[in-house]
């Protein structure tokens, strides 16, 4: 870390670590994997300095279940990993969701399937947004596209995790993880203090019954075997997911008079921003819609923009977010798709051609 007091130059991974400690994270549990190793490396120093705890787990399976334990205690905690490691965590994430346990899971994704490659990929969109693990559950998913957002979104992630007692995933990729940019270390609007996080979890956290005046024991669990019990539990979860819908967020650029709205998230969105500015300067009517939350998905933004426009989804995978866009648009506009394969370093210039093709309706 280096810089003036105002802005520091930090990698996305380092910004995530700064954001975590500034947002009040107390415990970190994780297993090394590229391209997110700067997250645990930074936190192994930052957390103990602030009285927090850092544990290098024996595996991602161990890490996510440590997070379950710390989250159940209502202590702001996190883990971080990348794609294949997140696959291993899905069991624990499902239990967290089923038990109403908060926790922040950073996924700086890499190319797959299998061992794949360590370069940028958005192939984890499904794994992040569709529950990922077994059973009927959802995680809130935030997709930063700059190092500054890596910092800011950690505050948002902890606030949402505690507000909904639910796992929150911060989804980036190798570009977001490794790009070094100026970051301002000031809490963004909506950040919650440690006291506010405590207040949110005090009705349910486990702590030893002696900590409470009435002294009746608490239990956090996901097993419901009695007739109708799981149905009632899942209706409760469904209601929670319904409430989460209001957290959907996105940003647009130059969509007002756009004939074509390009839809992208994370690293692809920022690369396309350069492409579209260039095309705009040449007189092409193109705009950008960037979902900042991937779950909940900003459906309404698409409904509002659909009349008189077409959409082009650009993502670094074989076609994942495009399904959500098509559901949101629901036939009200044409939706095209362009995929960049994993671990290809696409540049602004590379993406101009597919945008122009879609604009011409080819």
């Amino acid at each position: 870390m280096s810089g003036t007091p105002e802005r520091v130059l930090a990698k996305g991974n380092e910004a995530l670590a700064f954001g975590a400690v500034d947002a009040g994270c107390v415990c970190y549990f994780g297993y090394p994997i590229t391209p997110q190793n700067e997250v645990p490396e930074a936190l192994s120093t930052l957390l103990p300095e602030r009285g927090g705890r850092f544990v290098q787990a024996e595996s991602e399976v161990g890490a996510i279940n440590m997070l379950l334990g710390a989250g159940a205690c209502g202590i702001p905690s996190m883990t971080s990993s990348s794609s294949c490691g997140i696959s291993l965590m899905q069991e624990g994430i499902s239990y967290m969701a089923g038990s109403h346990v908060p926790g922040v899971i950073v996924n700086m994704s890499r190319g797959g399937p299998g061992l794949g490659d360590i370069g940028p990929s958005q192939g984890d969109y499904f794994q992040a947004t569709k529950g990922g693990g077994h059973g009927d559950h959802r995680n809130l998913v935030l997709a930063p596209s700059t190092a500054q957002e890596c910092y800011d979104f950690m505050f948002k992630a902890f606030a949402l995790a505690f507000k909904y007692a639910n796992p929150v995933m911060v989804l980036g990729d190798a570009v977001i993880a490794q790009v070094k940019e100026p970051v301002r270390r000031t809490p963004p609007p909506g950040a919650l203090s440690r006291e506010e996080l405590d207040a949110l979890c005090s009705p349910w956290r486990i702590e030893g019954y002696g900590a409470r005046p009435n002294g009746s024991p608490r239990l956090l669990k996901s097993v419901y075997l009695a007739e109708g019990a799981l149905a009632a539990r899942n209706e409760l979860l469904m209601k929670k997911y319904q409430e989460m819908r209001k957290e959907a967020s996105f940003e647009t650029e130059a969509v007002e008079d756009a004939e074509l709205v390009v839809v992208a998230f994370g690293s692809m969105a920022r690369i396309l921003r350069s492409t579209l500015r260039h095309l705009r300067a040449e007189g092409h009517k193109v705009g950008l819609l960037r979902p900042k939350t991937l779950y909940p998905f900003p459906d309404e933004a698409f409904r509002d923009l659909a009349p008189g426009r077409r959409f082009l989804v650009v993502e670094q995978n074989a076609g994942q977010m495009v399904e959500d866009v098509r559901l949101a648009v629901n036939g009200a506009a044409k939706v095209d798709w362009h995929g960049v394969m994993p671990c290809i370093f696409a540049t602004a210039g590379d993406l101009a051609r597919p945008v122009l093709l879609a604009l011409k309706g080819a």
Binding site: N65, M66, L68, G69, A70, C73, P217, L219
Partner: protein, 267 residues
């Protein structure tokens, strides 16, 4: 027949109370099978927590197996862990709440098969937690399949000809395995088949909690326990099997003791 209520069990006139409940163990009808030793193990855990006076700051991490619902019996804060992950969940609880007393209660499949990695590494880190390990050489909840501790020659629903060294390997002696790790402060194996053994088990269990409370490291106690249902025996014969078949294969004793004045003695 309705189950007796707590009221039914109070001493009437002329009766003397010789055995009482304790506030850590809830008064409820057991869901365990007749002759199952989980009841004894639960009773011992509740007595130790009660005598140490730590129940108000105790957190139980429940595992998956016959004892999934162990939290229904203990009057303490609890969290459920996925199958095998109790020691990892307990690590998270421990790091989040340094002042708490944290214990897991796990069967042989949970601790020594699916959760081997989590168990060994929590022990090796010297997590200040206590793991109560119930070894009955069989998967009880799923209906009698082979466990990592199933003895050679023992018939289960997945080893109908008996466990075979060439195909399944031998039974894992988990206590010995953990005892060699530097993070383990106490490791003992006891049996729940006789009054004498039960009393020894309670002393060992107390030590396994004391090393945690004293900040010495990981406390571990293994209980050789009966499963009459899946052994297809009556409870008396099951106790006899523990004495005659299990103890020779799983020697009793304290394999590690770092407590004040404590010294490991081999069985």
């Amino acid at each position: 027949m309705n189950a007796p209520t707590a009221e039914d069990l109070r001493p009437r006139e002329g009766e003397e109370l010789v055995f009482d409940t304790n506030p850590v163990l809830n008064e409820r009808v057991t869901h365990y099978c007749p002759g199952c030793h989980h009841g004894i193990a639960h009773r011992l855990v509740s007595e130790v927590l009660n005598e140490l006076g730590v129940a108000p700051r105790t957190i139980l991490v429940a595992a998956v197996g016959c004892a999934t619902f162990t939290y229904d019996y203990f009057n303490v804060d609890s969290v459920e862990a996925p199958h095998g992950r109790a020691c990892a969940v307990a690590t998270g609880v421990r790091r989040a709440r340094p002042e708490a007393v944290v214990f897991t209660y796990q069967g042989d499949g949970d601790m020594a098969a699916i959760g081997t990695g989590e168990s060994i590494h929590a022990a090796n880190r010297g997590e200040r937690i206590t793991a109560v390990f119930v070894n009955n050489t069989v998967y009880g909840m799923t209906g009698g399949q082979m466990a990592p501790t199933t003895l050679l020659g023992q018939k289960t629903t997945t080893t109908v000809q008996g466990r075979n060294m060439g195909n399944e390997g031998g039974p894992i002696r988990f206590c010995e395995l953990l005892a060699q790790l530097d993070g383990v402060a106490y490791a003992a194996r006891c049996a729940l088949d006789t009054v004498k053994h039960v009393r020894e088990a309670k002393r060992a269990l107390r030590k396994a909690f004391e090393v945690q409370i004293d900040g010495l490291g990981f406390g571990f106690v293994e209980f050789l326990s009966g499963c009459p249902t899946n052994w297809h025996m009556d409870p008396i014969a099951a106790n006899k099997r523990i004495a005659e078949v299990m103890i020779p294969a799983f020697p009793l004793g304290v394999f590690k003791d770092r407590s004040k004045g404590g010294e490991a003695k081999d069985a």
